[in-house]
């Protein structure tokens, strides 16, 4: 093996990566940056396991007949795909990796408020993941990620209890991360860093944490009730014993709708960092974007009933939930308009992170607009539980959140690893992912309106052409995801050494070396300027 061509041998400064070595120094670390990397490894694993199941689902749907997998296996595949992606990848991804790494850096703190709790969260996540791995090995679970009763409590013959336990446990990891971030944001900010000088990523993390802290316990208790019901059969959600299955759906969606905002809000935060940086411009309407995060977090709690318009919810409740659902779309729209306005008269560079950010805006806009269709009672009757829903939430979660996550990973990769990623490869993969994504999921909107129900193992022949398009897109998307994985790993060894501030960005995290030293700041910074304080020409207006 030949050594990498090193042009200048840089003096290796002591940083958080090389200050200590050995497995113990990682597994017992209290450093938020190292914990972020522990999470990065865990959720990357979850992403590829979940992706494997998605691949199985898409391949099965290539033909109308159920021929590749057996029906039982197919049902387990989409259930495991949903459970892993939602609870073990999407929800923890940006907060635990980018959030953990960046929150203390962005607010000028030496660490989060509770470093030991932070490490404990990771172990709790791993224990939950352990239960889920056991579930997979023991034969999977076939309830879908929604665990609707009485199917999950009585009729399913698969490993519902271990899966529910895994979700119950991983929920506590999420709660403790949220708690940690709330306290950190309130009490650990550097002198002079007032609320309205905070980077928007911090605002969005804060809003996310509120949801995590207040919604997750309800999911925990609901999963516990499902597990107990399955063991003891006491009738809590069982109509034959007086229970109400729709009540389960209320409790489930009280968490699982805001959970969508746990996924998307941090993504919005990332985009709010990327757009000003690569337009070299202050964000348009900072306070509106900041308050929009909080408004989304709050309104997101009031709309869960739109998941059960046709499930036997009362007409009155449906009318209320439909109207509230439209309200939550307003702050999302505000964000999109402000990001777009930020580009106006900027000095724009279409780097990899910026491509991801612009891709996010486009895909999130489409996901959000199709959400308006679902909030409309009349249309929801028709498209509920069809591929229209599947397409809609993939536009938000994959098109939105995963694009933002990858954009953020590229943007902060120099800070995290101390190396630059290959820019040409980066741009290419961003474009491949964007195209592959649209090819995968756009046909599903059409499929859904035509009436193809979700979670179908086989389907009538006339849906085949659109399904083939979707599967073709999925294979492109798969390649698109493997590319960054490969070249980012490659850059760890062969990438150019990163300067402290490769993007000439303004945040506090760029004022310290890449990678950062163990305790972040030699002395606590004092903040005197607003965020995104990019230079303007002398004659700049406003």
């Amino acid at each position: 093996m030949t050594a990498a061509p090193v042009i200048i041998a840089p003096e290796v400064e002591e940083n958080y990566l090389n200050v200590r070595y050995g497995v113990r120094s990682w597994l017992l670390t209290k450093d938020h940056k190292r914990i972020a990397l522990l999470y990065l490894m865990a959720i990357t694993g979850a992403f590829f396991v979940g992706g494997f199941f998605a691949l199985g689902v898409r391949l099965e749907l290539l033909t109308p007949a159920g021929d590749l997998l057996r029906a039982e296996t197919f049902n387990k595949f989409f259930s495991m795909h949903g459970i892993i992606m939602v609870f073990f990848f999407l929800i923890p991804s940006i907060p635990t990796v980018l959030g953990n790494f960046l929150l203390p850096l962005m607010i000028g703190a030496r660490d989060v408020a509770f470093p030991r709790l932070n490490l404990a969260s990771w172990y709790i996540y791993m224990i939950g993941a352990g239960f889920l791995s056991y579930t997979i090995v023991a034969g999977g679970v076939d309830t879908g990620w929604t665990f609707y009763t009485p199917f999950s409590t009585i009729y399913s013959t698969t490993n519902v209890i271990t899966a529910a336990l895994g979700i119950f446990i991983v929920g506590f990891s999420s709660i403790l991360t949220g708690l940690n971030f709330i306290v950190t944001t309130h009490k650990m900010r550097a002198p002079g860093l007032t609320w309205f000088r905070l980077p928007l990523f911090v605002w969005s993390l804060y809003a996310t944490s509120i949801i995590q802290v207040l919604a997750t316990p309800v999911l925990g208790i609901t999963m516990a009730l499902v597990g107990l019901e399955r063991t003891l059969r006491v009738g809590i959600f069982d109509p034959s014993l007086g229970g109400d299955p729709v009540l389960f759906q209320h409790l489930f969606w009280f968490y699982s709708h805001p959970a969508v905002y746990i996924m998307i809000l941090p993504g919005m935060g990332v985009v709010s960092e990327l757009v000003p940086t690569f337009a070299r411009k202050r964000i348009f309407g900072y306070t509106y974007v900041a308050y929009a995060s909080v408004a989304i977090a709050f309104l997101g709690f009031l709309v869960w009933g739109h998941h059960i318009f046709v499930a036997g919810q009362s007409m009155y409740a449906s009318l209320v939930f439909s109207m509230l659902s439209y309200l939550v779309a307003v702050p999302s729209a505000i964000k999109v308009f402000n990001w777009t306005a930020t580009l106006y008269k900027g000095s724009i560079r279409l780097t990899t992170p910026m491509l991801y950010a612009l891709g996010f805006i486009g895909l999130f806009t489409m996901g959000g607009l199709t959400g308006l269709f679902l909030a409309a009672l009349g249309i929801d009757i028709h498209v509920q539980d069809t591929y229209f829903i599947v397409a809609h939430f993939h536009y938000i979660m994959v098109g939105g959140m995963v694009m933002a996550y990858l954009g953020g990973m590229h943007f902060w990769w120099p800070k995290i690893s101390g190396r630059m990623y290959p820019e040409a490869w980066g741009r290419m993969s961003a474009i491949i992912i964007f195209l592959g994504f649209n090819l995968t999921f756009f046909p599903q909107f059409v499929l859904g309106y035509l009436g193809m129900p979700r979670r179908y193992w086989s389907y009538p022949d006339e849906f085949q052409v659109l399904n083939v398009l979707s599967t073709a897109g999925a294979s492109i998307l798969g390649v698109g995801y493997l590319l960054p994985m490969t070249y980012l790993l490659w850059s760890l060894r062969y990438g150019a050494h990163a300067p402290a501030n490769p993007w000439q960005a303004t945040g506090l995290e760029w004022q310290i070396p890449s990678p950062p030293p163990e305790h972040n700041f030699e002395r606590t910074p004092v903040v005197t300027r607003p965020p995104y304080d990019y230079p303007g020409p002398e004659e700049s207006r406003g």
Binding site: Y148, V246, A311, V330, G346, I348, G378, I381, P537
Partner: protein, 321 residues
């Protein structure tokens, strides 16, 4: 392979057929939302592309012009979407009311979902599995329930969907506007062969439907209910003479019933069902809660038969006051 009538060069349809009175209503709202969304998507995309080119970093544009924001613009793009949203909300709600308010003269059919089939029961006696024959041009009201898990009655070409819940009645209705065979799906995941819980709704011209109804009819549900009523011994207590230990059921259906403890309830399908399965829940004023539960003794179809029997007691006039 069906092709789209709108874009015939595509090898697939874009919109499903409009085969019910509800379908065009749903679609018109869809067109409105599609139009609005397409406009917004294209606008945002065009702005992003235009700005990215026009304001790309290049010699002469190294420095951005800093703009903090604009309250006027913010208010504009808060209020405008809100108005459009409220229009969509009101429109959606009106379609929803139409979709769930059956006309009073609707033809009634019972539907029971079970893993993994649909069972339908016509009042004239026909029973069907996975097929549902209906007349064109007449409203059909499907009273749904489930024997096990949650299912969902979904006919895409009619734009109709309603979950069928165990332990409860829910209702969907539609009026087919053209004859033909349309997909019937189960839309709520219900276990292993969820995707095989599909059937057809066959809409027939009224004359053909009458002919179909006449053929192969067995006992009507009310007749079967009458037999079941006697087999289960219901008539030992529910009778009109002085030996009655339970309320007389003649003329009961649709009336208001005074309950023990002061409440009033309308004797509809759900109430009769509850009274069979959980008799102590709502006891009629003046009677003792002595009736045993028939939960587990009568199938969902048996309950439907009993309900229809109770309904059929409507016409018989009570002899003398």
């Amino acid at each position: 392979m069906t092709r789209s009538p709108i874009l015939p060069f595509l090898p697939f349809r874009i919109f499903p057929e409009q085969a019910s009175t509800l379908a065009p209503r749903t679609d018109h709202l869809l067109y409105f939302l599609l139009g609005t969304s397409a406009f917004m998507s294209v606008l945002i995309a065009a702005l992003i592309v235009w700005f990215s080119i026009r304001y790309r970093r290049r010699p002469g544009n190294e420095v951005a012009i800093q703009i903090e924001g604009s309250n006027k613009l913010e208010i504009f793009w808060t209020v405008t979407p809100l108005i459009v949203f409220m229009v969509a909300y009101a429109w959606g709600a009106s379609v929803y009311f139409y979709a769930y308010t059956p006309p009073p003269d609707a033809l009634q059919v019972y539907g029971v979902g079970k893993q993994w089939m649909w069972k339908f029961q016509h009042l004239s006696g026909q029973r069907e599995i996975n097929d549902l024959h209906v007349p064109v041009g007449r409203a059909v009201r499907v009273l749904l329930t489930s024997q096990d898990v949650i299912h969902s009655f979904f006919v895409p070409d009619f734009r109709v969907k309603q979950d069928a819940l165990p332990g409860r009645y829910t209702e969907a209705w539609f009026e087919a506007t053209e004859a033909g065979t349309f997909h019937l799906f189960c839309a709520e995941y219900c276990g292993t062969l969820h995707s095989h819980m599909i059937g057809s709704v066959v809409a027939m011209e009224p004359a053909a439907f009458e002919q179909w109804l006449a053929g192969g009819a067995t006992l009507s549900p009310a007749q079967r209910g009458q037999k079941l009523f006697q087999d289960l011994g219901c008539n030992t207590c529910h009778r009109s003479d002085t030996l009655a230990r339970g309320p007389d059921l003649v003329g009961l259906f649709g009336k208001s019933v005074r309950l023990q403890g002061g409440g009033v309830v309308t004797a509809d399908e759900a109430y009769i069902r509850e009274s069979i399965l959980d008799p102590a829940a709502k006891v009629v004023d003046g009677f003792q809660p002595i009736m045993p539960t028939f939960s587990g003794l009568v199938s969902e179809e048996g309950i439907i038969d009993l309900i229809e029997y109770v309904k059929s007691l409507q016409g018989e006039e009570k002899p003398g006051p």
